[in-house]
Every structure is written in structure tokens, then in C-alpha cells.
Subunit: 192 residues, 2 copies
DNA sequence: GTCTATAGGAGGATAGAC
DNA sequence: GTCTATCCTCCTATAGAC
């Protein structure tokens, strides 16, 4: 089955991207992990960049599905917190592909991918609406530009604090997520 | 002068690491940027990893010097804020080398570098003391483990939110620093 | 210590048979 | 669509003359 195989490929790419990052991941490794020849990989995806893009699209679809499943009547701020919690759980589970924010050839490949850009826009629009709602409801600080809030939430998906705390082995994954979620929304300062 | 040349090399490495990251930076580029032959580079530094390590040691020394220059009588929380502000300014200026948090061969090279590890320990100790002082003084939330605070502050040095906001071209560097500093210490939530 | 030239190898991508 | 075998570029590192 073609789709099943491509799904297996994407899953391998996802894991390897999370584990080693884009530059350190080799196509040979992906092929070995999937259990097929490298040339066969290239019949499914025309380049390494397309592999990475497919992985990104995959997690974005999962994110969209997660958003869909959130209770519609929940408060905007609670939906945002849920999404961030889910995102960080994904990263701690080694399922969040990490791309260099710098590599320009990869960036352009992503920006030329219709699936990726459409998904990103959709996600950003929906999160953006919740952010503005949460600000209007007095839950989020209205002085922070919504786009800055959005970026800050996105950034939790690749926060090195998560892996550092995990390496220290002092806290469970749940504790780490709670901790970082708290510093993200409540800040480091004492609340008076 | 040997030291001046090595300083020029480190400066180039610093800039290129900040711009492209470790994996995408090539030794040829460094040599071209410095204006010497690649073989000459290898007379100064035995490997690419050593180049990166030297760059990291260099910024760490700058950080230590910055800490030294802070007014001794200032409140701990203000010193911490100053350091983070300085760090983010460095990143926005393109002078903060960015290393992959994953590449294991580079990690081991760094951990075997006496200069790097000593500097990191010294920095962490001094920042850690300020963190505990700020918590005791009621400025920082005492419920957050000091090590989590330390990692959170370190993470500002490679926060993608900075570059995203910079790319948007809506805010000046100073505004970006102020914004991220605020979300870091005050959080995203509205303060009641 | 600087250069030119090159070794040595990894990795992305392809040819062509089945 | 899968394989084996190979191409070819790029990159780290070194040899050896000056």
C-alpha cells in the first residue's frame, strides 16, 4: 500500500528530525530506518527537503486535528494553554521535528510548499483569533502584540529548556510541561 | 601578531555561527572571511569543532566581563534582567553563535574543553546565586526551581522569537528586547 | 605560518535492471 | 516501485613546498 508506506517514511523522518535535526539527519539513515533502499525513498519524495516538508505538514495536520477536538465552549486562554501543553508533550516524546530556523534553502522549499503554507496560515489564523479573544477577555496581557504572543507560543515547540530539564532527570515529563507552561504564561517574577 | 590573527578568526567564526549555524558553516567560508588559506586556519585550530569551541569561550568571556562590570549594589533581579537584555542584544546584532543542541560530536568536544566548561560553571554559579537571592527577596517566584530559571534565562540567547520579530520588521531591536524581556519575566497573562 | 594542491570520505541524488 | 551500483559534489583535514 502506497499511502501506508509513505506514512511509515514520514514517521521515520519525524523521529529522526526530532532526534538529530535536519542537517545531521541523512537520507541513508531514513532509508535504513524505514527498511527500504535509498533509491526507493526518492521514488516517493524527490529530495531531502521534501522529506522534511512532508514531516512538517504531518505534524501541522495533527495540530489542526487537535484544535478541532478542543471543546468549542472552552475559554480562549484555556484552548491556547492546551495547545501549548500538547506541543511540548510532543517534543518531550521525541515526535516534534526540529528545523534550523536559519537554513535558507530549506526555508524557501517550505515556503514554496502549498500544503505547508496553507496549514501554517490556517493554524496561525485560528490561534490568532483565540489570542485576541483572550486579550479582550482580560486573560492575556493586551499590551503584548498578538503576533508576539503567537511566536512565543510557537517557540515552545522547540524550547531547549524542555530538553535541558529532561536531561537533568530530576523531573517527570508532566512536571516539566507544567513548569515551562507556568513560566510561559505567568513569567519568572513573583506574582504579587 | 598571532593573538590578533586568532582573534580575527574567532570573530569571523562568531559571526558565521550566528548567521548560519554550526552545520552550515564551512571551514572554507571561515578562511575566506578571515582572508587566509584554509590550511593556515588549521595551524591555529586543529578542527572545526575547536573553532566553534573557541567562539563559545569567547562569548562566555564577554559575558563574564559583563557580569564583572555590573554595579555590585544593584538588586539581584536587576542584574539578571541586565544580563538577559545584553544577551538578546548580542543575538539581534548577529554576534551570538548558535550551536545545535543535538549534535553529539560537538557536544562532547565542548564538554572536553576545560576553558568552556570552567567558564560555563563560573557563569552558572554566579547567575545561580543571583537567582536564589532574587527569590529570597521576593522578586522572582520562589516556586520555580532555580535551575529552571537559569535554563530559561540561557534560552533567551537562542530564542527564535527574536529573529521572527526582527524579520517582521515592525519593531526596532530595542522594542523587541523590551517585549521579550517582558514576556520572559512577566509572562503572557494579564497582571491583575 | 602561509600558501597550493590534494587526499579521503560522507552524503544527496540517479541509472538501469528486474 | 524496489533493488544494486554508481555518480558527483562538497567538505574536513593534511601533505609538502616556501
Amino acid at each position: 500500500m502506497l499511502l501506508a508506506r509513505e506514512d511509515a517514511i514520514i514517521q521515520s523522518v519525524n523521529r529522526l528530525l526530532a532526534e538529530k535535526g535536519y542537517e545531521s539527519m541523512t537520507v541513508d539513515e531514513v532509508a535504513a530506518d524505514v527498511g527500504i533502499a535509498k533509491a526507493s525513498l526518492y521514488k516517493h519524495f524527490p529530495s531531502k527537503e521534501d522529506l522534511a516538508a512532508a514531516a512538517m505538514v504531518s505534524v501541522m495536520r495533527r495540530a489542526q486535528a487537535f484544535l478541532d477536538a478542543l471543546p468549542a465552549q472552552a475559554a480562549a486562554i484555556e484552548k491556547l494553554r492546551s495547545v501549548v501543553r500538547w506541543t511540548m508533550g510532543l517534543k518531550l516524546a521525541g515526535e516534534m521535528p526540529s528545523l534550523p530556523s536559519q537554513n535558507s534553502s530549506l526555508r524557501t522549499a517550505l515556503m514554496e510548499s502549498r500544503d505547508y503554507m496553507d496549514g501554517l496560515m490556517d493554524l496561525s489564523d485560528r490561534l490568532g483569533a483565540w489570542i485576541e479573544a483572550a486579550q479582550a477577555q482580560g486573560a492575556l496581557n493586551p499590551k503584548i502584540p498578538p503576533v508576539a504572543v503567537l511566536y512565543t507560543l510557537y517557540a515552545r515547540a522547540c524550547d531547549p529548556v524542555l530538553e535541558f530539564l529532561k536531561m537533568g532527570d530530576l523531573y517527570s515529563n508532566d512536571e516539566i510541561v507544567t513548569l515551562v507552561l507556568s513560566t510561559c504564561f505567568d513569567g519568572l517574577n513573583a506574582r504579587s
